[in-house]
């Protein structure tokens, strides 16, 4: 099957989006309310995936966790793209010292560990979803800048851009009419991959207590809570771990498949 990866990716991402959407209007149980009598129930009915150490329905928490991971992914990736892509395009179009300056700046940011940034932000402003999103966003900016610059350089060398420029189209016109539409697919692919990274980073930050504070359920917090029940109820760690793994896999497959799909030559070859 030629597009197996793409289809799998779409299915997995769709599942995450579906879960998040459903959680907006309905969850089987209250995802925050502690129910002491219902601790550590095994999977079954009515608790599909059982309950955690607080007696909260694991499935409900997973659904809300999907929402949190999408929110963090969308906002941090948007932040990275909104800042990174124009900078990359600027570097690609202007060239010379501007390009050097922007790209070295990107290198500096890229070299700074995202986790350290998150810890610094959490220390300064308190651990919250916003600090986690900013940390992830800033950390993934350089990737967008690099991809945008590489794409811009190629578009700028093409004949239709040379023609446009010689007929007097302004740099803004070139950027808006020619460069951006042509690098958009590339950015889309990068966004999908960045999304996967963002989910993983958000899970790591919540796991460390540097992300979304309790009691809001996130997959990272769920993993952390499950850790103490590893010997008593190992299934608890399985569900959020599986959710993170599948979501990351989904976004990566989607990005990969999307690129193959959008590139006509690759489509023919495969």
């Amino acid at each position: 099957m030629k597009r197996f990866g793409l289809v799998t990716g779409i299915c997995l991402v769709g599942l995450v989006i579906l879960g998040a959407a459903v959680s907006l209007v309905w969850t089987p149980f209250d995802p925050i309310r502690v129910v002491p009598g219902q601790r550590l129930q095994p999977p079954g009915w009515p608790h599909l995936l059982g309950t955690d150490g607080f007696g909260i329905d694991t499935f409900s928490r997973l659904l809300v966790g999907a929402r949190m991971c999408l929110v963090v992914g969308i906002i941090s990736v948007s932040l990275a793209a909104v800042v990174g892509v124009p900078l990359g395009m600027l570097a690609g179009q202007a060239g010379g010292w501007v390009s050097e300056a922007v790209m070295r700046l990107a290198d500096v940011v890229y070299a700074f560990p995202a986790l350290l940034l998150a810890i610094l932000l959490a220390a300064g402003f308190g651990a919250s979803t916003v600090t986690a999103m900013v940390a992830i966003g800033v950390a993934t900016m350089p990737a967008f800048a690099r991809v945008a610059r590489a794409g811009t350089l190629q578009v700028m060398a093409s004949e239709f851009v040379v023609a446009a420029r010689s007929s007097g189209t302004s740099p803004w016109g070139v950027a808006g009419r020619h460069v951006l539409p042509n690098i958009a697919p590339l950015i889309g692919v990068q966004a999908s991959v960045g999304f996967a990274m963002a989910i993983l980073a958000e899970a790591a930050l919540s796991y460390l207590g540097l992300g979304t504070p309790r009691p809001t359920p996130t997959w990272g917090t769920m993993l952390r809570d499950a850790q103490q029940f590893l010997f008593v109820d190992p299934l608890q760690a399985l569900w959020p771990g599986l959710a993170i793994a599948l979501a990351v896999l989904g976004f990566n497959l989607l990005g990969d498949g999307l690129r193959d799909y959008l590139d006509p030559r690759l489509r023919e070859v495969s």
Binding site: R33, F54, V189, V193, D256
Partner: protein, 513 residues
């Protein structure tokens, strides 16, 4: 239209893809796999003891830092006091062989053990005892707890090398107990170094090294004046993750878990051929502290409502696997004036809502719940936030590293609600100190407490009961439960006391094969 060559991009993306999948898989694996537990017997052949503990001492100076993890290591092991509290809660001689008190109970005369000497070789004489107290009195930067305890000491005299006389400003029942803890630690007066990194005590052990982030190593004081320490070296290893500590114990790397932080894991240590489980009581009241400087929390009705909103029995079952004792006020079962007051302001969310409404918070109330990252505190916080939500109170949880919690919450009082275990013995007097981080400036309680403290042994207990009851009725704080003393040892280790009646993890009674 796409003109881009994506070959190089593809390779790069595949690299990322692999990394992502790998990390995802790793997360699942680390989450789902349990550490292996080889059935090797612990290596206690050498005279060393490995103790697993949770909170790392931020420094080695108990006088300027209130962290209980400091005396856990140092009290009785490195620094000694005139008298010590045994595992039954009774006062026993240590540096003082005997003591007597005057008719009006304000003058205490201690007769020091003439054999006692510091690790440096210098004798522990009355001048050293006096110097230790005077040093604290002259120091404006000592902890708030010590400052309050010192206030009762009027003067210290050293008429003879082996005789030291304390004159108190008023009779005090608690005073001698305070003297059996940090307040009474006698420091070598010849010592001029930095107490944060070095120790100068007279105990059977001395600090060897502190490996920040890992461990504190004590070595035997070879010239100890009393019964020599049974171990050449004792290592306190710190684990922020209870599972890691349990796994370490199961693997045979630890001889003792000083305090089990994951009671749900108790069944792991069910193998009695390898492990001994000790389940006693501690002085640790898990207190949901209320900042009385907060406008809402200054109202008694609001505090009562918050107490009624929390089902403390269910909390203990959920958070600590039902291990522990429900107390309801600032007293634990080993205190002579203890009574179970958990029925005061008992769980009643309906009434809680009414009280809040009458107090003017019917439309809701938002409070900052800032907790240190300690297992019982974090878990209790989530439970508390959930139950407060049911009565319309929003508790915004923030987790802080303990090293940040101390300056921000404990010292600066930047919080509305917080949760921490108060592990000092007989510590209800802290509510009489309006500067203590709860900022509970209730004059009536202070009067009750002082009266009880000043009374003679027989009349003190009913008065103390009254003071304890007053705290519960006034909902000065919310007492979630008293921590159990859950100690796991390898079967080779004996002598660990059943109840933790002091701050010390007392090594002097422990032996191993």
């Amino acid at each position: 239209m796409n003109h881009l060559n994506t070959r190089s991009g593809r390779r790069w993306l595949q690299g990322r893809w692999r990394l992502g999948a790998l990390l995802g898989t790793l997360l699942v694996l680390t989450a789902a796999c349990s550490p292996a537990a080889p059935a090797t017997s612990p290596t206690t052949g050498a005279h060393t003891l490995e103790v697993g503990a949770t909170l790392e001492p931020p420094s080695m100076d108990p006088f300027h830092n209130a962290a209980a993890s400091i005396p856990q290591v140092l009290l009785y092991n490195v620094y000694e006091t005139l008298v010590k509290v045994d595992s039954e809660g009774a006062l026993k001689p240590l540096l003082a062989q005997a003591w007597e008190l005057s008719e009006d109970r304000t003058i205490y005369t201690f007769h020091l053990n003439p054999a006692a000497k510091f690790a440096s070789g210098q004798a522990v004489d009355s001048a050293a005892v006096k110097a230790s107290i005077d040093r604290m009195k002259a120091d404006s930067t000592i902890t708030e707890t010590l400052r309050a305890q010192l206030a009762v000491i009027d003067s210290v005299e050293a008429p003879e090398p082996a005789k030291v006389v304390f004159t108190l400003t008023r009779p005090s029942l608690m005073w001698l107990y305070d003297m059996s803890s940090t307040l009474g630690m006698v420091v070598d007066p010849a010592f001029t170094g930095e107490l944060g990194t070095l120790t100068a005590g007279s105990g059977p052990y001395a600090l060897k090294t502190q490996n920040k982030g890992q461990s504190v190593v004590l070595s035997k004081n070879a010239s100890y004046w009393g019964t020599p320490g049974r171990f050449d070296e004792v290592t306190f290893r710190y684990f922020s993750d209870p599972n890691a500590m349990n796994a370490s114990m199961l693997a045979g790397d630890l001889d003792v878990i000083a305090s089990l932080q994951a009671p749900d894991a108790l069944p792991q240590f069910a193998d009695t051929t390898r492990f001994t489980t000790i389940s006693g009581t501690t002085n640790g009241e898990v207190v949901l502290g209320l900042n009385h400087d907060n406008k809402a929390l200054a109202k008694k009705a609001v505090r009562q409502a918050l107490t009624m909103a929390i089902d403390r029995k269910a909390l203990m079952d959920t958070v600590w696997n039902g291990q522990g004792t429900l107390i309801g006020s600032m007293a634990v079962p080993t205190d002579p004036w203890y009574e179970d007051l958990s029925a005061t302001n008992a769980y009643d969310p309906v009434k809680a809502k009414e009280l809040l409404k009458d107090a003017g918070y019917g439309s809701g109330l938002t409070l900052k719940l800032r907790v240190p990252v300690i297992p019982y505190a974090v878990k209790s916080a989530q439970f508390v936030a959930s139950q407060l939500r049911d009565v319309g109170v929003t508790a915004k949880i923030e987790e802080l590293e303990f090293s940040r919690w101390i300056p921000e919450v404990f010292t600066n009082g930047d919080y509305d609600l917080t949760i921490v275990g108060h592990v000092e013995a007989r510590d209800l007097g802290k509510f009489a100190n309006p500067k203590y981080y709860w900022h509970y400036g209730n004059a009536e309680f202070a009067k009750l407490y002082t009266a009880a403290d000043e009374a003679g042994e027989e009349s003190a207990i009913p008065l103390m009961k009254q003071a304890v009851r007053f705290l519960a009725d006034d909902a000065a704080a919310i007492w979630l439960f008293a921590l159990p003393n859950l100690v796991i040892t390898s079967t080779d280790v004996t002598g660990v006391s059943l109840n933790a009646t002091t701050l010390s993890f007392d090594l002097t009674t422990i032996a191993s094969r």
